[in-house]
Amino acid sequence: MVDWSQVALAGVWGGLLALERRAFLQAMFSRPLVAATSMGLLLGDLDSGLYVGLLLEMFHLGAANLGAALPENDTIAATGCSAAAASCALSPGAGGTGTPAIWALAIIMFGWLGALGRKVDRWLEPYNTRLARKATARAEHGELRRAVRQNLWGMWPHFVIYAALVGGCSAVGYLVGPAVSKLPLQLVRGLAWAYPAMGCVAAAIAARGSHARRSAGWAAGTAAVVVLAFVAMAILRKGGA
């Protein structure tokens, strides 16, 4: 059963975050870690948002909007995946809380939205070009206030398209939720294993995308420190027992 008020909420928040990413403010509310966590919080499953956001933050860490080049749209990937994961976890019969299997499934289903988002961003550019031409024409006729106000009209297509996409992801999450609980146990276990597997690969992509000199050395060094810390803790725990 789809909760349409939740779907609408996910859509509106997804649309607003899409605007924040490029059109307004850019205070990083639209970064995957923040966007997905806030989506999870709004929909009632914070953990799903947080862990989906953690993985996608790493995956898109090196992407940057330089000049006219358009990077993948990390925000739509984060809002879409987190809305799907939270809705899936909250759907009737799905258990009420997110699990690594659900997070992995959501990312497998909607992680590619980042690439689609870039195509949508490119597709909307001619509309903005028309707005700029209209503004110039209005300025020629002395309608200055109306000319500069054209700037704000560039936002609504982004809002509408991305709100619809995120709402759609949420609805799919609700529809898929009951089926997840009926999946064979081995497949659920495989999906649960897929979350850390994708996380490790995403973090490796992040290390590479950090643009740091000797990034491999720094990443390997801190990874070794964390591994040693875990080993030391395990030894101490065994000694205590």
Binding site: W112, A135, A147, P196, C200, A204, S210, A219, V225
Partner: protein
């Protein structure tokens, strides 16, 4: 046009931009990219942000129209660094309105600064500060939970908003001389240090995810999974350096794990 700039300046008292107008310009500059387009890029956003100041500076409609039109020309820079250019444009437009310089000065100012400031801002904000804080806060998720996202917002915006407001004030006060001040900030040096933080935190995240989530399984399988995840992370780094597609890598890792879970 209703006469030369010097004639206009003699005919009316020296125009001023009020503090409230400056606040409005700064607020409107947050919409700089609302209608970003490949032809003029941020041109419409710039004209939109500057409009209240141009209205204050040019009560004469003809001169106001000319001022708006010169800011509808091509403009593109890093959106945060644009605050410096906005401040500088108001500085120059004030001088033009008072008849102290010609309108070509403000056009030259924008053309000269937008490229270098874009390079500085892209390098510092997009390629250093954001990835470094993103990786740092993502690595802190196991310790802080959702507060890691809040920490990211606070740390990022303390730097972003402070710098944005300071750059705007610098442009207003110094005009062209803001370049020296921006150079003193040594943003490339800070950027290089931040990029190292990003790489180090990403490495820590690989190890945490591999061991913590791998060992959730418990027993031999858990140990094998943790080692497998670490190997996957190392292989992922190597494959990315060989230009293997990121999406292909992500979905390949998922497929391997699902297959392992289903058949082992």
């Amino acid at each position: 046009m209703s006469g030369s700039p010097a004639t206009a300046a003699l005919a009316s008292p020296a125009p001023q931009v009020s503090p409230w107008t400056l606040v409005r310009v700064f607020g409107r500059s947050l919409f700089l990219q609302a209608s970003w387009n490949p032809q003029g890029m941020q041109n419409l956003g710039l004209a939109y942000a500057l409009f209240p100041a141009l209205k204050d500076l040019y009560p004469d409609p003809e001169r106001q129209m000319a001022a708006v039109r010169r800011h509808l020309a091509f403009f593109n820079t890093q959106p945060y660094m644009a605050a410096a250019i906005l401040g500088g444009v108001i500085f120059h437009e004030g001088r033009i309105a008072r008849g102290e310089e010609g309108s070509e000065q403000v056009v030259a100012f924008k053309s000269a600064l937008m490229g270098p400031l874009a390079a500085l801002g892209d390098g510092f904000f997009w390629l250093s500060l954001r990835p470094a804080l993103g990786a740092f806060c993502a690595a802190l998720v196991p310790l802080l939970g959702a507060w890691a996202a809040v920490l990211f917002l606070v740390l990022y915006n303390v730097v972003h908003l402070t710098l944005r407001a300071r750059l705007f004030r610098m442009g207003l006060r110094l005009g062209d001389r803001l370049v020296e001040q921006v150079a003193h900030a040594n943003l490339p040096g800070w950027g290089a240090r931040l990029r190292t933080v990003g790489a180090a935190c990403a490495g820590a995240a690989v190890a945490y995810l591999a061991i913590s989530l791998g060992s959730n399984q418990g027993g031999r399988v858990g140990e094998a999974l943790a080692v497998g995840y670490l190997a996957l992370g190392a292989a992922g780094y190597w494959l990315t350096s060989k230009r293997f597609g990121n999406y292909a890598l992500l979905y390949l890792a998922a497929a391997l794990a699902v297959a392992a879970g289903a058949f082992l």
